[in-house]
């Protein structure tokens, strides 16, 4: 297993670790406050920008720092035993040592590409006689959390650059610098990390988060664009979106559904994170005026009513942090899973008792009406404010099983079903 670990590198947010430490010493008197509505803040955010709206009730909460080298194989072996699944399902470790693993994409020849946070690695996982080999194929990119694979090319989105690496699977050892195919994007780091979901025309849905917790966003962000990687043309597809790092095209309707992380520092229980569907171009999902479909922002509602905006398909709960999601289109799981949405919830930091860190299943028609939610996989939480792992993305495998990326334990899991 040594080779799997070798050269795999981490990235996770040191920023997060630093913030955790500053909380530990509890030096600050009063509450942290930043004036985030300025270009200076967007371009040079303080390291703890996400603490800028601290309240008395939520004071002291900060993102926890994960283990720099992920979980060891022994820890992972113990961890998967604690994961609860519906009857007939099984979870196993697909690959360890995939530090800070985020979005996954399959190459045509069976290479699993994995993006990461922080340091900026992209990994390629290949099968070497039944043994998974994890190779760091790109290093030093700017938070390359999102990637996709189309027509032999690997696409990586690193904040303000969509980079194309042609004929990627044949060149895992020498991908080169790639070619920037779209860069009309701001470089703001805060909520600048992205996700890619291709539609049938090969255009990518790309989310743009605001460079702060709450405020009037720069006009270039707080939206979802639809980007053609062939021409670099793009459309503004939806507005009023906070931090979205996951979405998928509905196989039934072709419409784009996406998860959205709601603002922090209101309370443990509001506002709720969301699952949304874009019915038509130009819809506005409420941020920063209205949260969870029915909660005007105390400061930034500015006279707007929630009825002006597109409500969520489903409120997923406060601080569950939904990230990657996929419609289940495989044949392995029981028949009623067909077209269910599986959502990787990364879990809380701005909540006294963490929740999320699980996979939920949402069953809903293509019209978005009458959604039903149930927990599919859980057990990554430990105590009130601890994690064994944090699910960040989901992808279907050819055989109908699913793979789950965990950026805390630095691992990919496989969940399969047999009667």
């Amino acid at each position: 297993m040594k080779s799997a670990f070798n050269r795999s590198v981490l990235a996770l947010a040191a920023i997060v670790a630093v913030a955790g430490a500053s909380q530990a010493s509890a030096q600050q008197t009063g509450l942290k406050k930043y004036e985030s509505g300025t270009k200076e803040f967007w371009t040079h955010p303080p390291d703890d920008w996400f603490l800028g709206d601290e309240t008395e009730a939520q004071k002291g909460l900060a993102p926890p720092s994960g283990p720099p080298t992920g979980a060891s194989e022994a820890e992972l072996a113990a961890l998967v035993k604690k994961i609860k699944l519906p009857a007939g399902f099984k979870i196993e470790v697909y690959a360890p040592g995939v530090l800070a693993a985020r979005q996954m994409a399959w190459g045509d020849k069976g290479t699993l590409f994995v993006g990461s946070f922080g340091l900026g690695n992209v990994y390629a996982i290949t099968d070497n006689g039944g043994k998974k080999e994890v190779k760091t194929i790109l290093k030093g990119l700017n938070m390359p959390t999102g990637l996709a694979f189309r027509d032999g090319a690997l696409y990586v989105i690193a904040v303000d650059k969509l980079i194309k690496y042609d004929n990627a699977e044949a060149n895992l050892d020498k991908l080169g610098d790639g070619k920037v195919v779209y860069d009309d994007m701001p470089s703001y780091a805060a909520h600048g990390w992205k996700y890619l979901a291709a539609d049938k025309d090969g255009w990518f849905y790309v989310p743009f988060g605001p460079p702060f917790n709450i405020g009037i966003p720069p006009t270039s962000v707080s939206q979802i664009r639809r980007v053609d990687p062939k021409t670099g043309n793009a459309e503004t597809w939806a507005l009023g979106v906070r931090n979205s790092v996951g979405g998928d095209v509905d196989p039934r309707s072709g419409k784009y559904w996406f998860t959205e992380n709601a603002r922090d520092w209101m309370s443990d229980d509001i506002p709720s994170d969301k699952l949304n569907m874009i019915s038509k171009i130009g819809e506005h999902f409420g941020y920063p005026y209205c949260h969870q479909g029915d909660l005007p922002d105390p400061k930034f509602a500015m006279g707007h009513k929630c009825s002006e905006f597109t409500p969520p398909v489903l409120n997923l709960g406060a601080h569950v942090a939904p990230l990657g999601m996929k419609f289940y289109t495989g044949d392995q799981f029981p028949a009623d899973y067909k077209n269910s949405i599986l959502i990787a919830e990364h879990g809380s930091w701005n909540r006294h008792k963490y929740q999320g860190a699980r996979i939920v299943r949402v069953t809903v028609g293509p019209d978005g009406k009458n959604p039903k939610e149930e927990v599919f996989a859980s057990g990554w939480l430990e105590g009130d404010q601890g994690y064994l792992g944090r699910p960040a993305d989901i992808i279907l495998a050819k055989d109908g099983s699913i793979l789950v990326a965990d950026d805390w334990a630095g691992a990919i899991y496989r969940i399969s079903y047999s009667k």
Binding site: K2, A13, A14, I15, V18, L99, L119
Partner: protein
């Protein structure tokens, strides 16, 4: 010249040694042996006797781990450390973190310039260094111990952050803090922290 040469030689020896060392178990003797390769440059007991090379003794476990991960990934650049870190496994990194964190911290030398220390203490308070590095500057979690670190190394590190040569990884914490520091402040901060 002599110091430079022998340093390079030692580090080259260490590099070869790390690369060729067998995979280690949790066995403490093996850990110690492997960690001793680091001490060729970083000093006996993790206390550096060499200019511009930091002491590692009593650095927080996670800080050591992160820095190795950063060197390995190329986010932190150093021509001596990068080739070494590229050979290091996740398991090794965990062991090194635990090993150096458990060592006795460096003892500060007598302060030959208390006035400068006073200026440094004022700068540290003004820049709120302790809010991350803790009141004793012993560091915690992913945040470095500064107390008793080599003075000229602290100057180097602050200059590296200020100029953006070093970013500390994903976050911009130290680059943001160091960017507005004047050379005078850096000199004073380094003197103060080195004598804690």
């Amino acid at each position: 010249m002599r110091v430079r040469f022998s340093l390079k030689l030692l580090c080259a020896v260490a590099l070869v040694a790390v690369a060729s060392a067998p995979a280690i178990s949790a066995d403490t003797t093996a850990t110690k042996e492997k960690a001793e390769m680091c001490t060729a440059c970083h000093g006996e007991g993790g206390i550096s006797q060499t200019e511009n090379i930091p002491s590692l003794a009593a650095q927080p476990d996670q800080f050591i781990q992160w820095q190795l991960v950063f060197f390995r990934g190329g986010a932190r650049k150093n021509e001596q450390m990068q080739p070494i870190a590229e050979q290091v496994t996740n398991e090794d990194i965990r062991l090194f973190g635990a090993y150096f964190a458990a060592l006795t911290p460096p003892k500060p030398s007598t302060d030959d310039n208390p006035d400068l220390s006073k200026k440094g203490a004022e700068a540290a308070a003004g820049r709120r260094c302790a809010s991350c590095h803790t009141d004793t500057y012993a560091g915690t979690k992913a945040v470095a111990r500064l107390a008793g670190q080599r003075e000229e190394y602290l100057v180097k590190a602050l200059h590296d952050y200020k100029s953006g040569v070093r970013s500390g990884g994903a976050g911009s914490a130290m680059t943001d803090v160091a960017y507005p520091l004047s050379d005078e402040e850096i000199t004073a901060l380094a003197h103060y922290l080195a004598h804690l």
